[in-house]
């Protein structure tokens, strides 16, 4: 929406279509970048506090006079960001320097492009594609190129191991993710994200909101398979074998320090946001309010969307600090022998349901 | 079975291999080094003895003029009896048969005794130092050990009698 509105506005001022397009894209990219940075800052702080409270400790706290991390450690992320920016920029001597420097940016691009299509509210969306869902799934695969580049260019056996595992994992889990997201598409009959959300307005039996997750048992299962595949896509525990701290030091990120590492981290949290956003839009009603009819206008949409998104991201963090991690072959087993049959069965089931119940 | 019976069983099978001595402890038996591998196989496989656990191999330097010794402590899980076997070595060329094929822990225990004392265990598949670096010189736990001065350019401190460390 935002890019469209900007182009229309420029069109009223004169006839320079190419320049208008470029200007519109650049201008709408700036709030997107701000969203990404803000998301990383908040998510990192929340993760540290949530993990601390789950582990019976307090996390970053600011106490005492002088330079410290603010009340309740709120300034901690800012301090971390400054530290990462002023760190020495090391590039290993025997690495492939060009690929080494390019890799973080490719991963960043993948996450950034995905953010463009996330519907934050009925009017806050950078680009309302007709093929929104398809676009997000497609663009999410760009990240894997960056990961393999990073692992290879580091000239380090550990990084190579991590990158190979990550490549296998992400490519495999895209299949159940894609197959699960077909379920809302089948039910709503459209790939457009806003129309998908509008399809979910109204109620079931007068009380439950008409979200796709509550619609029929197959879509209920589809939500969980999508969420599990999404957690695997973003390399979070229990699927964090590529960055398994206790085995591979830091996996494919081992040789990166300072700002390049910060870009990786930014992209990981942006990725979490994108897949959670897709889950919310596809299954949980997007920016619709859970209480049908009430609080459904204007900025309330943004509030509900951020609430549901926040909840899903919290669940992802909860998983990380509770479960141990799966081994590589067990990971592949779960994907190919468990999730894919279930998702295929789901599609079949939803098709039959729609045929019978309309 | 107690020590006397075990000693009798060994002497029965391998006459002339047991050496008598005054200052042996209660459960100690001293053997000659030549038939050690066969005796070791015997004490493991004989059903009355069945020493299936090699507890410890200790290398000893009995003094600057005396000999080196290897002491093996054995235990049987089945009969719950123990024995300690002593084998002396000549100081100039200490060697004895290796028993790593019989008790798998002999592998690392013998490497450690080799590392510290220089006793060569013949038949060992991979006899190299285990605790000291591979290119260390000398046998540290011998009583007449003089440490090397430099190791790859690092000065090794020596302990002086009165002043303590250098």
């Amino acid at each position: 929406m935002t890019v469209d509105t900007l182009i229309n506005w420029f069109a009223t001022m004169g006839d320079f279509p190419i320049l208008a397009f470029i200007l519109a894209v650049v201008i709408s990219g700036i709030p997107l970048f701000l969203v990404m940075a803000l998301n990383a800052m908040i998510a990192v702080y929340v993760e540290r506090k949530v993990s601390a409270f789950m582990m019976d400790r307090v996390g970053p706290m600011g106490q005492g006079p002088g330079l410290h991390a603010g009340k309740w450690g709120l300034l901690q992320t800012a301090a971390d960001a400054i530290k990462l920016l002023v760190k020495e920029d090391t590039v290993p001597e025997s690495s492939d320097k060009f690929l080494f420097k390019m890799a973080p940016y490719i991963i960043f691009i993948g996450a950034f492009l995905g953010l463009a299509a996330v519907p934050f509210s009925s009017s806050l969306q950078v680009a309302d594609f007709n093929v929104g869902v398809f676009y997000i799934i497609a663009v999410g695969s760009i990240g894997i190129i960056g990961i393999v580049m990073a692992g290879w260019a580091s000239n380090n056996k550990w990084s190579l191991y991590g990158a190979m595992r990550s490549a296998a994992q992400i490519i495999s889990y895209e299949i159940p993710a894609g197959l699960s997201i077909i379920v809302p598409i089948m039910m709503a009959g459209t790939l457009n994200l806003q129309e998908l959300i509008i399809f979910q307005s109204g109620t079931i039996w007068g009380i439950l909101p008409n979200w796709i997750i509550f619609n029929n048992p197959f879509s209920f299962i589809a939500f969980f398979t999508f969420f599990i595949s999404a957690v695997a896509e973003t390399n979070r525990t229990p699927f964090d074998i590529p960055e398994a701290e206790s085995e591979l030091v830091a996996g494919w990120m081992t040789e990166y320090s300072g700002f390049r590492w910060a870009v990786f981290f930014l992209s990981e949290y942006a990725n979490m946001l994108v897949v959670s956003g897709l889950a919310v839009a596809g299954f949980l009603g997007g920016w619709q309010s859970p209480i049908p009819g009430l609080f459904n206008t204007g900025l309330w949409g943004l509030f509900w969307f951020m609430g549901k998104l926040g909840f899903l991201i919290f669940v992802m963090m909860w998983f990380r600090w509770t479960f141990p991690r799966l081994r590589v072959d067990q990971l592949m087993h779960v994907c190919w022998k468990v999730l894919i049959p279930i998702t295929m069965f789901n599609i079949f089931g939803v098709g039959i349901w729609k045929l019978i119940f309309g | 079975m107690n020590t006397a019976e075990i000693k009798a069983a060994i002497m029965d099978q391998f006459p002339g291999s047991v050496l008598e001595s005054e200052d042996l402890g209660e459960s100690q038996v001293e053997l000659k080094a030549d038939q050690w591998f066969e005796i070791a196989t015997f004490i493991k496989e004989n059903p009355n003895l069945s020493f299936d656990q090699l507890e410890c191999i200790t290398g000893i330097d009995l003094g600057e003029e005396a000999s080196l010794q290897t002491r093996y402590n054995f235990h049987s899980m089945e009969h719950r009896h123990k024995i300690e076997i002593l084998i002396s070595h000549d100081r100039k060329e200490p060697k004895v048969a290796s028993i790593e094929k019989i008790w798998r822990i002999g592998d690392w225990f013998e490497r450690e005794t080799y590392d510290m004392f220089g006793i060569v265990y013949e038949g060992h598949s991979d006899l190299r130092r285990i605790l000291c670096p591979d290119d260390w010189e000398g046998w540290p736990l011998r009583k007449d050990y003089e440490g090397q001065e430099l190791y790859h350019g690092i000065v090794i401190p020596k302990m002086k009698e009165e002043d303590g460390w250098e």
């Binding site: 206790s246 141990p324 067990q330 | 299936d52 656990q53």
Partner: protein
């Protein structure tokens, strides 16, 4: 899983690595992810304990033994003083025996908590580690209250102990045990029966019983393979015969007998057994003077002794040779972690690198003891 020979790659795990439990270098020959051979390189923490002990007196050896197995210092001391008291034939007062058992069992619980927590960390579960360390802190606080040190105590002396128990120690310890027993259920809920954890550890790294005995594996590792051997019951020392406790062995309920899960589970059960012993001991501590039997000068008769005791890692043995002077002629420490590490090569052939980490964690090694 079979052994595959393709193009082999040599991978170095350590010496600086988050999960080698110390400075250990493992040279792993792999084909892709499958391991075909492991060569451990030791000696990074070699501090010449045995050479030092030939230059200091018998009492001065005790702090050295602390530093060998630094996670279970009380038990390292215990082994040494039991061997020395057998050599010198000293009779020690009842109170000292009870105090030694209490301290040894508390340290056993602390060491097992650390071993299990770190094992969870190796497998990827971050939270149980912190819960177990939080409870271990309370044990270390009790040690600090008694003798002033948290980790390296120099507490057990030949003929006695260094400090008597403080007045309200029994209350504090009983309160701790009452708090701690329900915590064990919480650990089980969080980690022990978690499906992912079971999948990672069951059937992995099986050590058959005869291989274990041949490799000299002892303690919880041996008991997990089904062999019921505990030095406290089978070659009893101190007053362990007075206490009523079980010796848990592995049962292979989730996988094969002797796999990593069994080794984990046996340690968990042993914590409960130690709590039992502690409760019995705390009720019956007699009064007395702990410094009564300390010899003025330790000058053991000529001779040698080999005595083993049960440390949290297995059979800890001390071979001490004395030549009648106050300075030992030879002190050799037979460390259980040394023998446990020696079987790593054979046990992990054909498994993947993640499994090597799991097997290494389940053996519970401490490099200070291996390298001395």
């Amino acid at each position: 899983m079979g052994v595959v020979k393709g193009d082999q790659m040599i991978l170095n795990i350590g010496p600086q690595h988050p999960s080698t439990h110390g400075v250990l270098r493992l040279e792993v020959m792999t084909d892709g992810e499958i391991v075909s051979q492991i060569r451990p390189h030791l000696g990074y923490l070699h501090r010449c304990f045995e050479k030092h002990s030939e230059n200091v007196t018998y009492e001065q050896v005790i702090p050295f033994t602390d530093r060998c197995d630094y996670l279970a210092s009380m038990n390292s001391n215990f082994g040494y003083v039991v061997a020395m008291e057998e050599l010198m034939e000293i009779k020690i007062p009842e109170r000292v025996e009870y105090i030694r058992v209490i301290m040894g069992e508390l340290n056993r619980i602390a060491s097992h908590l650390l071993a299990l927590g770190v094992y969870g960390l190796d497998i990827g579960a971050f939270t149980p580690f912190l819960y177990m360390l939080r409870d271990r802190e309370r044990i270390l606080d009790m040690f600090e209250y008694t003798c002033g040190a948290r980790l390296l105590y120099n507490y057990m002396w030949v003929g006695g102990v260094s400090h008597d128990l403080p007045k309200d120690f029994e209350t504090i310890c009983t309160d701790f045990l009452d708090y701690f027993e329900p915590q064990i259920k919480e650990y089980n809920n969080l980690l022990s029966f978690n499906k992912i954890f079971v999948e990672r550890t069951a059937d992995v790294g099986v050590i058959p019983a005869d291989v274990a005995v041949s490799y000299g594996v002892s303690g919880p590792n041996l008991r997990a393979s089904g062999v019921k051997w505990d030095v406290r019951k089978d070659e009893p020392y101190s007053i362990y015969e007075k206490f009523d406790f079980d010796v848990p062995t592995g049962t292979g309920e989730f996988g094969t007998l002797g796999d990593c899960y069994d080794r984990y589970w046996v340690r968990m059960l042993e914590i409960e057994e130690s709590v039992k012993i502690l409760r019995q001991a705390l009720k019956e501590v007699p009064s007395g003077d702990v410094h009564q039997a300390l010899p003025k000068k330790i000058r053991p008769p000529k001779g040698s002794v080999y005595r083993r005791t049960e440390s949290p890692r297995g059979d800890l043995g001390y071979y001490i040779i004395s030549d009648g002077t106050p300075v030992p002629s030879r002190v050799k420490m037979r460390s259980p972690a040394f023998t446990a590490l020696s079987c790593l090569d054979e046990v992990s052939r054909g498994w993947m690198i993640s499994d090597v980490i799991a097997i290494l964690g389940s053996l519970d090694i401490v490099l200070g003891e291996i390298d001395r």
